[in-house]
Symmetry: C2
Subunit: 113 residues, 2 copies
């Protein structure tokens, strides 16, 4: 799976998006995150693993506690891709607009002859 | 599956992202899109269906040709979610920065006593 495939796949689940939203406010332990989602640790760990594989989250074990932290680069890459497509799309709409305006102006000029 | 789940799932595949990039430049027929991806029509139609389910693409049959068009609202929703999280994340980093600056200023003031 390509990098952006993994990033968007990570984002395609409500629990994982909620974890990202939570970690945007600061690091948290896996235990705390799991409790908030009323989820058994093994099921929750699968989500954390998906987030780690896409490099959205890194986790480190300090003693008995595994702490999670957000890495914003993957999210920036996803946002960048979307922004790029939006720009292509908008440039095309602007071209269509000016094409229609040119047509209308020609039509108008012809009417005044 | 929730709306954003479907949108991000659609974006998690390279072929589907390429179709979006292509349709940002203007509508195209399913046949033309499939040929460009060197894919058999039935396999390709699965990708189109996923894109339609997430409301990123709409298709209409005109005579014997099925034309696809991009609907940018779903992409805007995805971009909006990412932007919101980025803002939370950056606000936190700015708070951390000013906290560290305040500490440094206090430390400095103490040094000058």
């Amino acid at each position: 799976m390509a990098y952006l495939d993994r990033v968007f796949h990570s984002l395609s689940d409500g629990t994982r998006r909620a974890v990202i939203a939570q970690l945007a406010n600061g690091p948290a332990s896996v235990g705390d995150l799991a409790r908030r989602h009323h989820m058994a640790l093994p099921s929750f760990m699968k989500h954390i693993r998906v987030l780690e594989e896409s490099e959205i989250v890194i986790s480190r074990k300090t003693g008995r506690v595994r702490m999670c932290e957000l890495r914003p680069d993957a999210l920036t890459a996803a946002q960048g891709w979307l922004e790029q497509e939006r720009q292509v799309w908008e440039a095309r709409l602007n071209q269509l607009d000016s094409f229609v305006e040119t047509l209308a102006a020609k039509e108008n000029a012809r009417g005044h002859k």
